[in-house]
Point group: C2
Chain length 430, copies 2
């Protein structure tokens, strides 16, 4: 049974703290395996990648081909039903529009001391995009990772995706065609991440790697953070729904199950101020579960990690939500403004009764790659700036240096750095 908590109960504080601290991330100790794979790819390049691919994916890129031919991508796009084609196009267009507005502005000004200073943004030269194979091969995820890179102005987008037994998901290929991916490599796992980071004879290195993956992929990204930029350390998905009794319990049940169906480690939590509504949602979840093709996963997640929490007033949920810092937060109330103002930590917020989180997974526009595992306390969803970098700049003429340089000399001397001091002092005298 899913956990039920009541905020006025005497043991609530301890029970809620246990919920916040419950570890859902697998502690798979893959770090040694991943380090060995990275070292092999770094040393032996394509040969090592091909070896691992034959072993793990039962697929030989040397005979079957390393990349997906343009005709195969085009055919996948042409093979889409008109409905799906329109849906992917709408998603791509809305994601592009939202992310275009994220492009940061450069700055360049002269201050009162006569110093010119500012910052400018440039895209990275190349980005690598990981797309999982098998069940979790989602075209929406490809668009959410590739389009911000395109909007940033990245000139080269290299995608890697495993082809277990040679099979690729045609929907993913169609999405890759819509996103104008430059290269699609039929490789996956830690070996594909290492190949992107260090480069091989076939595969030019990239500067940033994003995209979801299994424990090996996530650990490879973590180990290569610093060699390349990465998006984030990702964990199981989460949703918190704050709902009053005026909602249809069945809608809220569907929202909770939309996270639960991702993975047994996913988490769905409902806050409400009405015990009767809590019962109704719990019943609606049980009614809906048997209708889902994803029933087994959703039920496992809901039973192990789900929770229904009854608070006295809905606004009381805000500090509790902040402790969870959830990836997704739905505010299914008539006026979400007070809760929206009060909450500080969430990856993305869905306002009102007609904004189910799933609409944001596909066609809302904001990115669906979001911080999980309480990381919304300090990190943000994927954005255009993850594919760009900022260069600051400074310019003094002799008058400006005369104004601020003596302070630099004093500090450099105090820090015991005489060449620093001399590089400024020489110009003050000169």
């Amino acid at each position: 049974m899913t956990q039920r908590l009541t905020a006025t109960a005497s043991d609530f504080a301890a029970a809620f703290t246990a919920l916040v601290n419950a570890r859902r991330e697998a502690d798979a100790d893959v770090s040694r395996d991943v380090a060995a794979i990275i070292a092999a790819v770094r040393a032996n390049g394509d040969a090592a990648v091909a070896d691992y691919t034959r072993r793990f994916d039962r697929f030989d890129p040397d005979t079957a081909g390393w990349t997906v031919p343009a005709a195969e991508r085009r055919a996948a796009l042409d093979g889409l039903s008109p409905d799906l084609r329109r849906a992917l196009d709408l998603a791509a267009q809305r994601i592009a529009a939202y992310h275009a507005a994220q492009k940061p502005a450069d700055s360049d000004s002269v201050d009162a001391a006569g110093v010119r200073l500012g910052a400018r943004w440039r895209p990275v030269d190349a980005a690598g995009l990981y797309v999982p194979g098998g069940r979790a091969a989602y075209p929406s995820s490809l668009l959410m990772n590739a389009i911000p890179a395109r909007v940033a102005g990245v000139a080269r987008l290299a995608m890697v995706t495993p082809a277990p037994d040679g099979a690729l998901n045609p929907l993913v290929l169609a999405a890759a065609e819509i996103a104008s991916i430059d290269e699609i490599w039929r490789i996956g796992g830690a070996q594909a991440i290492a190949a992107l980071a260090y480069g091989t004879a076939r595969i030019a290195p990239v500067d940033v790697i994003t995209g979801p993956g299994n424990a090996w992929v996530a650990e490879a990204k973590r180990q290569l953070f610093g060699v390349v930029g990465i998006d984030m350390v990702a964990g199981p998905s989460e949703i918190v729904v704050v709902a009053d009794a005026d909602n249809d319990p069945d809608w809220i049940a569907a929202d909770l199950l939309s996270q639960a169906e991702h993975d047994p480690t996913s988490q769905s939590i409902l806050f409400t101020d009405a015990a009767g509504f809590a019962d109704a949602v719990a019943a609606a979840v049980e009614r809906r579960l048997p209708t889902l093709a994803t029933e087994a996963t959703a039920r496992a997640s809901w039973q192990a990690n789900g929770a229904i929490i009854v608070v006295e007033r809905l606004i009381d949920a805000a500090p509790l939500v902040d402790r969870l810092a959830p990836e997704h937060l739905e505010l299914a109330v008539a006026d979400p403004a007070p809760l929206f103002d009060a909450v500080r930590h969430a990856g993305s917020i869905f306002l009102g009764r007609y904004t189910p989180e799933a609409v944001g997974d596909y066609v809302g526009g904001p990115n669906h790659v979001l911080p999980t595992g309480r990381r919304a306390r300090f990190s943000s969803g994927l954005s255009v700036t993850d594919f760009m970098k900022r260069t600051s700049f400074l310019s003094c003429d002799s008058a400006a240096l005369a104004a601020i340089g003596p302070a630099a000399v004093a500090l450099a001397e105090a820090e015991g750095l005489p060449a620093h001091a001399a590089s400024v002092a020489a110009r003050l005298d000169g």
Copy 2:
């Protein structure tokens, strides 16, 4: 002797590639030690921190005091010479002004489909700041890390700094007072990073940890990335100077030595279009070296990692600079605009003959915490946004959901996620 390369030489491509790929970062294998320290602090909290502090710093926080009393900080500030006080105040004021302009704007708009969408920024709740002990305890570095956090609006700033044999640098304490640091803990090393990340009975956990440190500190931050946010993976400092023959060779020599004096692993590279000027700078370096209290370090760095590269035209340096992606780039020419436009990868750029890099270390305004080791290809200097996070949001009414929801249903069904589809479809019917 420092390396001399000529771009027109037949072996230049290979020699320059070797320079780009030369590893300067120590391969100290501290990851196992650091993992053990983190595990001990996580399990035993303050007792483990005190143990390591007694062992590594020969200092017992349990008897001598864990934190620096307010009176000691105030006394350090009052004890500054008027010159140094003015210099630190000018630095703090200029850093604050530059970073205030970095504060990101929120967005909130309604698009043509009637969907309200946007993003808002909030500071993290608490930031931890590492300040090294001993020789590299720099007040400028404290200001560069603390002020962006203050500008971001972070409510709690906890600093950790080792007190070897009980000693702290009064300049650092004075800077901490100027930056209104909330807590100063007399602990350091990986144990201090672990205490900040997980919290102990005495030390509340923080959300982001920044600041330079030795190999143990850097590895602890890397291992705890994801538990907290961190600034970056930092390596040895670098400068690239592009200079024409109209410069005073002695000024350029001082600039090159200002990086070389940091550490034997630092790197200083000069590009010029005049072989005679290259000779003059090399000679000026040799003349200046014996005048420096930091001579041994600067000479070791210059001999091992320095380089002078003669190109045919200065603009030819741009693609070579991009391959180095240096932390600091000085363009010491009459008109730096063409090179400034052409270069894509650098942490910070210093324009013209009167902008020595060292002025930016102290009082320029832009942050001096910058990407090293070619990481300017994909990462940026420390900024206000490193202490903030972005929450995206979305709001549909029933009409807006009717406009975009059917596409979400189609994609969810295609991805095999029926509860996603149901959460949208229920509202389309409702």
